[in-house]
């Protein structure tokens, strides 16, 4: 039972998890620059100092949020990744991302807002997003290699459309994200 005082003591692993989850949602709404240390803390019912016991600085928290998101994301598609690299697999993986993202609007928004902020080379997550994009495109290119005449351009096309569709869906929830994607994929992967 919750103690009489307002103070809630949790084991570190649990508390870290709670903080990361709350921080993720806050950043998704307002970006990293838009959320203060105190706001992060208050969202978990604690104070700045309490939060800083678990993360050395506000910037540290951001990096932890990104890394944790990567873990979860990778875990969710790792089974699909086993098959040989071919376009059908590529499409299946991307459709999986679309379905997954559809149910996690705030996470998509987190990445959208953050990656835009991080276009500034001085942003703490700039390097993170730069390497992430490069690696993602290289992987996709491998999957298209044996099939598409121009796998490089095709990879750019696919990622551009997916990014842009997500962005427009965030701006206007009326857009039918999965339907637009499947229609595009039908054309893109047509023989």
């Amino acid at each position: 039972m919750t103690p009489a005082s307002g103070r809630r003591r949790l084991p570190p692993a649990e508390r870290r998890e709670e903080i990361l989850k709350a921080a993720t949602e806050l950043i998704a709404v307002s970006g990293f620059k838009g959320v203060t240390l105190e706001a992060f803390a208050a969202a978990c019912g604690m104070t700045k100092a309490g939060l800083l016991h678990h993360f050395r600085s506000r910037e540290d928290l951001l990096i932890a949020v990104l890394e944790r998101r990567d873990e979860l994301d990778l875990a969710s598609v790792v089974d699909t990744l086993e098959p040989a690299p071919d376009p059908a697999t590529a499409r299946a993986v991307m459709s999986g991302f679309v379905r997954r993202n559809l149910e996690q609007r705030s996470l998509v928004q987190l990445y959208t807002v953050l990656s835009a902020e991080a276009l500034d080379p001085a942003h703490p997550a700039h390097a993170y997003f730069a390497t992430r994009l490069r690696e993602g495109r290289a992987m996709l290119e491998r999957y298209l290699l044996a099939w598409h005449p121009r796998p490089g351009e095709a990879a750019v096309d696919l990622l551009a459309f997916l990014d842009g569709l997500q962005l427009n869906w965030l701006r206007d929830a009326g857009i039918d994200f999965p339907a637009q994607w499947e229609a595009f994929a039908d054309r893109f992967f047509a023989p």
Copy 2:
């Protein structure tokens, strides 16, 4: 000639223009939340107080930047807009935007960073971007109406791809923005 003292006095219209131009570039790099009033002022060689003589608040400056950008943008394509609404015109207009944006990377970045920040309903430019997107899509839809079987979905496709391509181009300048666009348009506008 510049006076001996550090003080530079300009007619209001001229000074406003200078401020808007500098602010535009700063926001393009670091977003609106990322630039302080003092930084805006310093970029024009003046102080906060001096700047606030021309714009009542920092937020006021942001709105002025957006409105001014719209004026310039519209003026640059207004000649192309005369012809009847048909897909060929639509493509020409959009290719025009691509060419134009290619030479104004920082302006594209301004819109990208700002529109992502403005996904937050509490952002001062949220309403601006919401209506802007709606109107843009409606206009594009009119141009595709007589030709495409699903003008609504087609408009979303086009804008999504363009937005996404721009975003990826900002992240990685190695991407051949106009070539990717023309290849996509060839397929999209094919008979």
